[in-house]
């Protein structure tokens, strides 16, 4: 980085007007001679303004800003703690509510069981009654039916005897024989029985 200004300053070609005005760290064009950081005549100025700035910043921070931020943070911490406590309360309440709910649920369930059992018993009793009634009716009908069947059977047997007698008389007559009713009756009766 061959700054011509440096070389020029070393060789003394710089017009001295700029030097007189701006001091010995700046050449006539306003460029830096050497490192501006090492220019001794600027240091006092920098140190003075640095001291002023630091003192002001320090007082602004220690008097206003830092206590305020600390207060904000503490307040937030307090709010958070309160909120957590409130949340704990609510949680306890929720647990209680859950217990009550479970109890109610269990109660309702046992009630329901009872009702179901009662209803079942009632239904069963009704059913039994109806069954018994139906059985009785069925038995009565059956008996009646059997009686009728017996009557019909008896009627049928009698008819069979008469038909057989008539038929036997007719057959005997047809064969040219003469048969009295009594003999035919006896013969038919013995045959039918046999």
């Amino acid at each position: 980085m061959a700054t011509e200004t440096t070389a020029a300053a070393v060789e003394g070609h710089v017009s001295p007007v700029g030097l007189e005005e701006a001091g010995k760290c700046v050449d006539s064009h306003g460029g830096a001679i050497g490192m501006p950081q090492l220019c001794p005549e600027w240091m006092g100025n920098q140190i003075f303004w640095l001291a002023v700035t630091l003192v002001v910043i320090f007082f602004v921070l220690s008097r206003i800003a830092l206590p305020r931020i600390a207060a904000i943070l503490a307040e937030r911490q307090g709010t958070i703690t309160n909120d957590i406590a409130a949340a704990e309360d609510l949680k306890a309440k929720a647990v209680e509510a859950e217990i009550a709910y479970n109890k109610a649920l269990a109660d309702a369930r046992s009630d329901a069981q009872n009702i179901i059992a009662e209803t079942k018993a009632g239904i069963k009793a009704e059913l039994d009654e109806a069954l018994a009634k139906a059985d009785a009716e069925i038995a009565a009908r059956t008996a009646e039916g059997e009686k009728k069947i017996a009557e019909i059977r008896a009627g049928a047997l009698e008819s069979v005897g008469e038909v057989a007698k008539d038929a036997a008389l007719a057959i005997v007559a047809a064969m040219g024989g003469k048969a009295d009713a009594k003999t035919v009756d006896a013969a038919v009766a013995s045959r039918v029985k046999g």
């Binding site: 980085m1 700054t3 440096t6 070389a7 070393v10 830096a32 050497g34 490192m35 090492l38």
Partner: protein
């Protein structure tokens, strides 16, 4: 052939001084690399040691800055 021997020497010296920055680069890389290999072995302990890593970086980087400063001084202030 302008300038003089002093200026030539100063510029050569500035160039040589810049090699010191390479050393600082190696040093910083070494610090961070070792930190990283340690941190990957035990990630839970890494968080607390970040500040130490930065202190180490600062110390080794300072030497590179010194050599840079020497270069600048040779170029602009001699």
């Amino acid at each position: 052939m302008e300038g003089d021997v002093v200026q030539m020497g100063a510029y050569i010296g500035a160039g040589l001084a810049c090699t010191g920055m390479g050393g600082a680069a190696v040093g910083v890389g070494h610090v961070v690399g070792n930190f990283l290999s340690g941190a990957l072995r035990n990630p839970s302990a890494a968080g607390g040691q970040t500040a130490t890593m930065f202190i180490g970086i600062a110390f080794s980087e300072a030497l590179g800055i010194f050599s840079f400063l020497v270069a600048l001084l040779l170029m602009f202030a001699v």
